[in-house]
Structures are given as structure tokens and as C-alpha cells.
């Protein structure tokens, strides 16, 4: 494992520990106002407190080695992977774009009550466009497919499963 990989893993572990400590704090904070046990020996606060303690202890087993790793790590020459890096960045942006589309899809259905069929058709077209690019024939085919899928799902969920999608 290269020096950069080791340091990256150490930083990841530090971030993970920070998250775990935050969860432990939330558990402890949320449990401190719970009433003491009345009808049974354990009470509502027992499990949150126990999990908070266990998480804190376990995270320490990751925190200490991560800090030691960073302390000992030496600066190394970075691998010259500029070509791969560019491709990797594109793929990450693609993932982020699809995540943004999906969040927008759910927001449109939830907050703006947009029509299920039209919204689903647009989302299927946009996501496929992210992969295949702005090729009109391909986009039209995906749009038609998305529309058919949306109509079938609308029919099944509203008429058979009695789930209101409007």
C-alpha cells in the first residue's frame, strides 16, 4: 500500500471515528431526559446509554491507530495517475448527477405533487441521457420506454394495489 493510500485510509478512519462519536453523543444526549425505569429494571435509557458507551470504546480502537499512522507517515511522491484521475472524476460527477436527479424526483413528487407519469418519464430520460449522451434517437427511445413503464406502474399501483400515486 502506498504512503498516500495509508494516509487516505487513516483520514477515512478519523472521519469514521468522528461520526461514531457524534452518534454516541446524540444517543447520550437523547437518553439523558428519559425517565428512570418504573415498571421494569432496565428502562428506556439503558440501551441508548449502553450503545453510546460501546461505540465510544470501539471507536477508540480505530482512532488511536489512525492517529499513530498519520504521525508516522512520511511524505511520498504522489503516483502520476492524472489520466485515471480524470476518468475517475467523471465517474464521480456522474454518480453525483444521478443522485441529484433522484433527489429532485422525490422532491417533485413529495413537495410539488407533480404527476407521477410525467415526472417518472422525465427522470428515466434524464438518467439515461447522463449515460448515453445527447443522442436524440436514444433519448426518444428511453422517453418512450419511461412513459410505458410509468403508465404500467400507475395502473398496477392505483388500480390493483390501491396506492394513491397522485
Amino acid at each position: 500500500m502506498s504512503s498516500n493510500d495509508t494516509r487516505r485510509e487513516a483520514y477515512q478512519n478519523l472521519a469514521f471515528c468522528a461520526f461514531v462519536y457524534a452518534v454516541a453523543f446524540v444517543l447520550y444526549f437523547g437518553a439523558k431526559d428519559l425517565p428512570p425505569p418504573r415498571f421494569e429494571p432496565l428502562g428506556s435509557a439503558a440501551l441508548p446509554n449502553a450503545i453510546a458507551v460501546i461505540l465510544t470504546v470501539l471507536a477508540s480502537f480505530i482512532l488511536v491507530p489512525a492517529l499513530l499512522t498519520l504521525h508516522r507517515a512520511r511524505k511520498a511522491e504522489a503516483d502520476s495517475n492524472e489520466g485515471d484521475g480524470l476518468l475517475g472524476e467523471y465517474a464521480v460527477w456522474r454518480g453525483l448527477a444521478i443522485f441529484a436527479v433522484l433527489v429532485t424526483y422525490v422532491a417533485a413528487l413529495d413537495f410539488f405533487r407533480s404527476g407521477f407519469v410525467i415526472t417518472t418519464t422525465i427522470v428515466v430520460t434524464v438518467i439515461s441521457g447522463i449515460f448515453v449522451g445527447l443522442r436524440p434517437k436514444s433519448l426518444i427511445l428511453h422517453a418512450i420506454g419511461g412513459f410505458c413503464l410509468a403508465m404500467i406502474l400507475m395502473l398496477v399501483f392505483t388500480k390493483i394495489l390501491y396506492v394513491d400515486l397522485t
Partner: protein, 504 residues
Amino acid sequence: MIEAFEILFQWQNLALLFLGTALGLIVGSIPGLTATMLIALTLPITFHMEPVAAITLLIGEYVGGVSGGLVMAILLRMPGTPASIVTTFDGYPMARKGKAERALALGITASVVGGVISWFFLAGMSPSLAKFALKFGPWEYFALVMMALVMLAALAQGSLIKGLIAGMLGMACSLPGIDTSIGQERLTFGADFLLSGFGLLPVLIGCFAFRQILVDAASLDRPKNVKVPDRHLPLYRSDIKKHGANMVRSSLIGTWIGLLPGIGGNIAAMVSYVTTKQISKEPEKFGTGHEPGVVAGESANNASIGGALIPLITMGIPGSVTETVLIGALTIHNLQPGPLLFQEAPEITYGIIAAYLIANFMMLALMWGLVRHIARISSLPNSVLLSVVPVFCVLGVFAANSNYNDVWVMIGFGLLGLGLEAVKAPLGPFVIGFVLSPIAEEQLRAALMMTDGDFGSILARPWAMFFVFLMVLTLAWPPLAAHFAKKRQVNREADKTHSDGEAA
């Protein structure tokens, strides 16, 4: 029993069984839709049917629904139920290597073997097995649940500490909501949508399906093209020797653990998987596309259905929400599930037993005919897969409660799942911790209430202590095994140096 088979083999009942199994397979294959949902929706349709016909249809849906989960678990790493999670550990890597049809074939065969073996217990030993299950009290349940969680955390891929942390984080995520024991709001922080806590379906779909969508979207890898065989499915005679013992052992584990109401189905596959990994000569291969991993999970998964039907028909105790709905089906036909059902309506009880066996073979026939084509799903272009699957995920999660808050929860847990995977914390223990935490807490509280808060009373429960012993052994085994391996290595090197010296 023979009369039950004669009734079942009437063409109407066979047709209903076939229809139920097929529907169950389809629904189980779709992320977001579950067998429980299908059975609940079919229940009103069975009002006007004969009881045997109604139960036949529902049992077919149950078997098909559980088995259908393996399809998406293998092809897309999207388990339909918690029990299918372990199938993703090795099934999905096999699919990525272009062995999707092999993984599916093994999974299907293992499922049927598991179902058939558990059928023998269901048919022959129901009353005595049910009595065994009754001996399990709260301490035994608590110890079994903690053992399963620790085993999975310790033996999942990656570090033991991160596995345990993932399990604990899963348990923490199950805490918000109303404490069912005393009706106290807990960790809701004033948010109304947290009053009912996080649902299992949003968590499961978020952590696996939604997360996998984002990973695949950001990945440059293309899944290898599936090689569809011309005539034969990739199952060979040598598989009997290679996987036979694993199938039988996993089926027995699945049946015995499935017997325990409330928890059996969820942990049977896990315990079977970790047991197989522990006794394997190649434990390091598990999680990388190792065939025994798929076999162990699927055998136990389906065997647990047969195990779960035992307390249902002998004592009227449902093992899960699905069995609760089945009890509903019996009730609406004026049948009281319980010990007297064998005397009052033997055609129903033996009908359930017979239907369960035949449904397994129907599932085999259906999957066998379709698996070549199903396997092609994994090589569809991402522009199709990653635009269609998210729609199913959103719809499936929304449909459970007609509430978009569940969909936002799914997205949140999808991001959490991404983060956990980025730091190499395994997802299996996280989801299982989420599922098992309420059971563990409930059983621990019941045990302490029965014993006036005496933790030491667990020492007087042999089965509970046995599970605790296994839990401690699982935690201690990795460092012990590493220590013994190092000692063996040192001894080998010393012997080699000594023999080289003598030769010189």
C-alpha cells in the same frame, strides 16, 4: 397426509399453487415489493375460496416470495428481505465476474434442497419440535440474537472492530420512536416523523439498493457479459459432492433456527453463512464470489420457512408478519390455528404441509425455465438499469405506508451505506443490528422482569449459556487463530532452518 396430496393434486388447487408461486417469485424479485405485501393484498381475494384453495395460494406466494429475493440479491446486490442479505456477499461478486447463471442455479438448487429438508421436519416432527421451541425463554432468545449479531460482525469481511461498530450503529438507528414496552417517546427530538421510527424497508432498500445504484453510477466497471449456456444450466454431478454437505448442514441450521418464532428467518441464513465460513478450508474466499457462501445462505433461508411453519400450525404462533397474515387467512375461514387444528381440520394442516413441498418444486421448475433469461438482467446497459431500478425503489418504499418521509429515509440510509462502505465497515452487521435490536431489548427486558432484575439468572439457562459461549468464542477466535497461525509459521521456519543446517 396422502389425502392432503390427493386434494392438492386437483387441477384447481395445483393451478392456484402455480399462480401463487409465480406471483411470489415476480414480487420477490422486485426491490421494494415483498411477499408479505403480496399475501396481504391477496387475502381479500381468498374470502370466497375454499380454505384449502386459499391456503394453497398463499403458501405458494410465501415460498415464491422468499425465493424470488435471491434474483436481485445476486444480480444487482439488492436483497428483498434481510434474509437475502448474505446471498449478496458472494452471489453479487459472482455475477460481476460473469457467473450470474451459475450463482442463480446454485441458489435455486440450494433453496429447493433447504425447503425439502425442512419439509421432512415439518411433516414428521412438528409437535415434538414445537415443544422444543417452547423451552426457549427470553434469556435464550436474547443470547441467540446477540450471538447471531456478534458472529456476523466478527466474520464479515473487514476488521472485527468495524464490524462490531457497524452492528452497534444499526442498533442505534433502531432506537428512535416509541419504546413499545412503556410507551415512552425516545430519541425523537420532537420530530413527528420519528415517532414510528425508521422502517425496515427504507433502511434495507436504502443501504443496499439505493447505495448500489449510486456506486454503479459512479463506477467505470462494466459487468461482464453473461454467458448463457446452450442447453444445460451450469450444474454438474460434482456439485453434489462439492456442495451436498453444505446444503444439508445449512438446511438443518435453517430449520432449527426458523423454528424460533420472531427471529428465525432473519438470522438462519446468517448463522449458516458464518458457520460455513468458519469450518471452511478457504475462509478468506468468502465474500469474493465463493460458491459455498451462496449455497449456505439460500439453503438456510428457505429451510427457515419450513421451520417457521411448525409453530404456526402446531401452536398458532406466527414467526413473522407474513405468518401473522397467514393466521388471518385461517381465521377468516373460521379456523382457529393451534394444537386442535390437527384434529378439527386435518385437511388444512396437512394441506399446508403438502402445499409447502409442492411449492418448492414449482419454484424450481419456474426458476429453472427462466433463469437463463433472468441472468441477462445483469448485463443490461446502465442507462436502462439505473433509470428503472430507482423508480421501483422509490415506489416500493412509498407504497408501504403511502408516505414520502420513508423515501427520504431511504435516501439518507443510502448515503450512510455509501459512507460505511467507503471506510470498509460492513453493511450486513449494520442492517442486522437494526433488525435484531428491538428483539434483543424486548427479550432482555422480559428476562429481567421475570427474574426481578437478576442478570445472574442467565447462568442457570444452559441453552442461553451455550449461545453466550459461542459468542465469546467468535470474538476470541480471530486473534487466537492469528496467534496459532503465527506460531505454526515460526515452527515451520525453525524446522526448515534446522533441516537446511543438517543438510549443509
